[in-house]
């Protein structure tokens, strides 16, 4: 596949992700931070997000499983996941965290458990989509092309 076609595929795929709400303008801000001194910045930060999110989701599962649920701990974990998802533009994960926090404030265990499933679902979805997007990016770079800037979405 030639570079122009790869770049078009990348833009088309990114457009779908923005339109479906998986990503918001903050992802474009992240892309703008990538430069010659950090050519892999997006991959680096997204990988960090995946690592941290997985750990937070594991901790949330364990904490919600306890006999006496520590809602303060849950709130702290969700706050962190909301912050990092918001920073990279993972909009649907961020929104799921906001809903989760509301149930946590009410100490509604059932609501929290439903929200945890929803957050996990949204996280897995955005993870697979970001991995696909970054694979397209790597193909463009390997073919000697420039990664299209997503500034129209910022």
């Amino acid at each position: 596949m030639e570079v122009n076609q790869m770049q078009r595929s990348f833009l088309e795929y990114a457009t779908v992700l923005f339109r479906e709400g998986f990503l918001d303008g903050q992802f474009s801000q992240l892309q703008m931070l990538q430069d010659e001194s950090n050519p892999d910045f997006v991959v680096e930060v997204v990988s960090l997000f995946f690592e941290d999110s997985q750990k937070l989701l594991n901790d949330l599962t364990t904490t919600l499983d306890q006999q006496n649920v520590d809602f303060k701990k849950i709130d702290a974990h969700i706050h962190q996941l909301k912050g990092s998802s918001s920073s990279i533009g993972a909009q649907r994960v961020k929104n799921a965290c906001i809903a989760f926090r509301n149930f946590c404030d009410q100490q509604n265990l059932e609501g929290c458990m439903r929200c945890l499933q929803h957050v996990k679902q949204e996280y897995l979805l955005v993870k697979s989509k970001l991995e696909a997007l970054l694979r397209l990016e790597q193909q463009i770079v390997a073919a000697g092309g420039a990664i299209p800037v997503l500034s129209e979405f910022s």
Partner: protein
């Protein structure tokens, strides 16, 4: 110009740090308010401190209060996604120059720099 990013989230530290570096700041980052206070206590100083509000060990409100009590004159900017007005007010009253919404953007920092230049 130098900036210290104070945030318990690795992703946020990395992104805010890179953004500030691209805007010309010499940047450092720590994980919580206690580490920020320790840095200043050890003699380090920064023109700007971008302080998260909610952090474990020592939160942004307490850290800002302690820094001001120590006589730190840096421009301390709160960074938060919190929508609890009372908590934000307490954060501002602890000694912030301004409070910005998280995540930081290029435009927000440029406006801040213009404001600071005028004072």
């Amino acid at each position: 110009m130098s900036a210290l990013v104070v945030d318990d989230d690795k992703v946020v530290r990395r992104m805010h740090g890179k953004l500030l570096t691209q805007l010309g700041f010499e940047t450092n980052a720590v994980e919580n308010g206690q580490e920020a206070v320790d840095l200043f206590t050890s003699g380090e100083s920064y023109d700007f401190v971008f302080m998260d509000m909610e952090m474990p060990i020592m939160d942004g409100t307490e850290a800002t209060q302690k820094l001001r009590e120590m006589g730190v004159k840096s421009t301390i900017v709160g960074v938060t996604s919190c929508n609890q007005e009372a908590e934000k007010q307490a954060f501002v009253e602890a000694g912030l120059y301004a409070c910005l919404e998280k995540p930081l953007t290029r435009d927000a920092i440029s406006s801040l720099l213009e404001q600071v230049a005028k004072k």
